[in-house]
């Protein structure tokens, strides 16, 4: 029943997405709302979010194949598949955001080694290749030294790319909201959190097996710790600006705490995505129910996605030079941004692809077959 729901949701969201994909590929970036002031929007936020889920899921797989924790036996393959599927969605999301996605090969051949984007591109590519090799080995039942080595390398790559987006944003010294040493760490915590949450979701709605009680307990405790760490890093990140109280430095943070994004921040990121799951995770009987666990995972993921959006957009919708935003009018020159329907449609399509790929993987790949 749960899987049928996933299929239905997957088809529906993909159908909406096909319109978005068509529009983007035929009309270019005519119908997007990001511009020359707010240069990155929903697609970049989703790139960070899907990329974080991919990394987090890989780290869950490493509990099985690298650290060989008994409680996580059998989690490796579904976690690796989830990792690859969400990574593909992340790459598609950032691809759509590029003015010339067909030139992405240049990032491998004619690259600038100082660029944060290059570190991301190379990091995710190496990580993706390692995750793919690990999955192939695992599907073939080759759980030997080779898989171990691949998992060690993948583990290092995963930790690196988990924080890399924070560095990519943070090296813009002209954007005080991002230019904080804590940002890469915050991205790391968020990636780990989303990985654990995704596993709760997968085991609730897709896995044909009953979840192992010990693994559920570990995921639950891990999620509690990670949610607290994420919330703490958000507080540390904000407090550095807020306590200084220099207007230009707190312009972005204030949008979240009391400005235009207060509803999203307090309601979805903190309320739905952090506090509610924290309270529910402390109820032992509730998390033994896999469906309840899945819904908790879903809340965490929604909060996590919103958190990425609230890092990307408020960093950009502040003026870099006094009165520049009123000096000219025209397409994309304003500081206000909300995603267009095409942007939402594309994200819907990517979610659809993820849902369908996860469901199809469950049905047609031996993800849950016991290894010899």
């Amino acid at each position: 029943m749960a899987k049928k729901l996933i299929y239905a949701l997957g088809v529906l969201t993909l159908l909406i997405g096909l319109w978005g994909f068509y529009d983007r590929l035929v009309f270019g970036e005519q119908h997007v709302n990001y511009g020359s002031a707010v240069v990155w929007g929903l697609w970049v936020a989703m790139y960070f979010f899907f990329g974080g889920v991919a990394v987090g899921s890989f780290l869950v797989a490493s509990l099985d194949y690298l650290f060989e924790i008994k409680a996580f036996e059998g989690y490796g393959k579904p976690a690796l598949w989830t990792s690859l599927v969400t990574l593909a969605a992340a790459m598609a999301s950032i691809g759509f955001d590029l003015g010339h996605m067909e030139r992405i090969w240049k990032a491998f051949v004619q690259f600038n080694p100082h660029s944060g984007i290059i570190e991301d591109v190379w990091g995710y590519t190496i990580f993706g290749v390692l995750a793919l090799i690990a999955l192939i080995l695992a599907l073939r039942g080759q759980k030997g030294t080779t898989l171990k080595i691949v998992m060690v390398l993948g583990f290092i790559a995963a930790l690196y790319v988990a924080g890399a987006p924070g560095k990519l944003l943070g090296n813009n010294a002209t954007r005080p909201y991002w230019h904080m040493a804590l940002l890469p760490l915050q991205f790391l915590f968020m990636a780990l959190t989303s990985g654990a949450a995704m596993m709760l979701l997968v085991q609730a709605f897709l896995s044909p097996k009953e979840p192992a009680p010990l693994a559920t307990l570990v995921l639950r405790v891990a999620l509690i710790v990670l949610l607290i760490l994420s919330a703490y890093s958000t507080w540390a990140f904000f407090s550095q600006s807020l306590y200084g109280n220099i207007p230009s430095l707190i312009a972005s943070v204030k949008q979240l705490t009391s400005g235009q994004y207060a509803g999203l921040f307090w309601g979805l990121e903190i309320g739905l995505g952090t506090l509610l799951p924290l309270v529910l995770l402390f109820v032992p009987d509730l998390t033994k129910n896999k469906l309840a666990g899945g819904l908790i995972g879903l809340c965490v993921l929604v909060g996590n996605a919103v958190a990425r959006y609230l890092i990307v957009v408020p960093g950009l919708n502040v003026s870099v030079l006094k009165n520049i935003e009123t000096a000219h009018i025209g397409r994309g020159l304003t500081l206000s941004y909300s995603p267009s329907t095409i942007e939402w449609a594309v994200v819907s399509g990517l979610v659809g692809i993820i849902l369908l790929a996860l469901a199809l993987g469950t049905d047609y790949l031996p993800l849950y077959k016991k290894e010899a």
Binding site: G35, G99, I104, N172, R175, K322, N323
Partner: protein, 284 residues
């Protein structure tokens, strides 16, 4: 208006005016400059054009192009913004040289400040550092350029620029909504589009056709009109400035006008504290 009325107005208006200004001029010696002298004086454009040609005789790496903008002379007419749009055929949303306006005081003590803002062509440019594919870089003369065929359109350079000097080409045009009837006879969308699309930036003919052809999907910015400079012509914003408030030239030439201007203490650069070393100076 009858001749009689005009005569009356001239007489009394000038009397009223004289009455108003006379107290302020008391004790001052006033003499009108002879028209001949004014005509004999060389326009700064002529001098700068001559110096430009002199600079072009040197090897490229020995030139140091700088722009100087005299904020005391700028009247906020935006002619430079428009000249730049016309010269580079900039589409909607792409602006290389806006004029920032700021109002001071409260009525009746109000004044405006105007700040034209081209690309600063920073010597330590944050925009070039972040470009993943080296599509934006300093050319041999130190000008920060964008290679449209190389740019992947990630917009990281826009996020990195502290001066908001870059904009993205989303593929829009001013002319696509024009009627097509009588195209070519009366001006129609195709004829108008031909004017709008024929940019000569970086000395190349950019057709900019369709939704995907560069510079659509690229980041664009001021390049000091390199395509004009190479032919010994000053940037469009400089020649269009009606207040003669914008100057351009080689700061490595000690006899140039720009060298003279930037050696004064009333010269500033924007966000000097960042250490970006802009090549645009403001006289305040």
């Amino acid at each position: 208006m009858s001749q009689e009325t005009t005569g009356l107005l001239e007489k009394y208006a000038s009397e009223v005016f004289a009455g108003l200004v006379a107290p302020a001029l008391e004790g001052m010696e006033i003499s009108a400059a002879p028209a001949d002298d004014l005509l004999a004086k060389e326009d700064v454009l002529v001098r700068m054009e001559r110096e430009l040609k002199r600079a072009l005789e040197k090897p490229a790496s020995e030139r140091r192009w700088v722009m100087v903008i005299d904020l005391r002379k700028c009247i906020g007419c935006h002619a430079c913004t428009v000249a730049c749009v016309a010269e580079n055929k900039l589409p909607p949303g792409v602006v290389y040289r806006p004029v920032l306006e700021e109002e001071f005081g409260t009525y009746p003590n109000v004044t405006m400040k105007f700040l034209p803002r081209p690309c600063m062509h920073c010597e330590n440019s944050p925009c070039t550092e972040v470009c993943p594919v080296n599509a934006t870089y300093h050319n041999e003369e130190g000008i920060v350029v964008v290679d449209y065929e190389q740019c992947i359109g990630c917009r990281a350079c826009i996020a990195a620029c502290p001066y908001g000097a870059r904009t993205f080409d989303f593929g829009e045009t001013y002319t696509e909504q024009l009627p097509v009837i009588f195209d070519g006879v009366l001006i129609g969308s195709k004829t108008a589009a031909a004017y709008e699309h024929a940019s000569q930036e970086y000395g190349q003919a950019w057709k900019r056709e369709g939704r995907h052809e560069s510079p659509v999907g690229n980041v664009r910015k001021c390049h000091f009109c390199l395509h004009r400079i190479k032919d010994g012509i000053l940037p469009a914003c400089v020649t269009t400035c009606i207040g003669r408030a914008t100057f351009f030239g080689d700061a490595n030439d000690p006899d140039s006008l720009v060298s003279e201007l930037i050696s004064k203490p009333n010269v500033i650069r924007l966000k000097e504290e960042l250490g970006t070393e802009p090549r645009v100076y403001y006289i305040v």
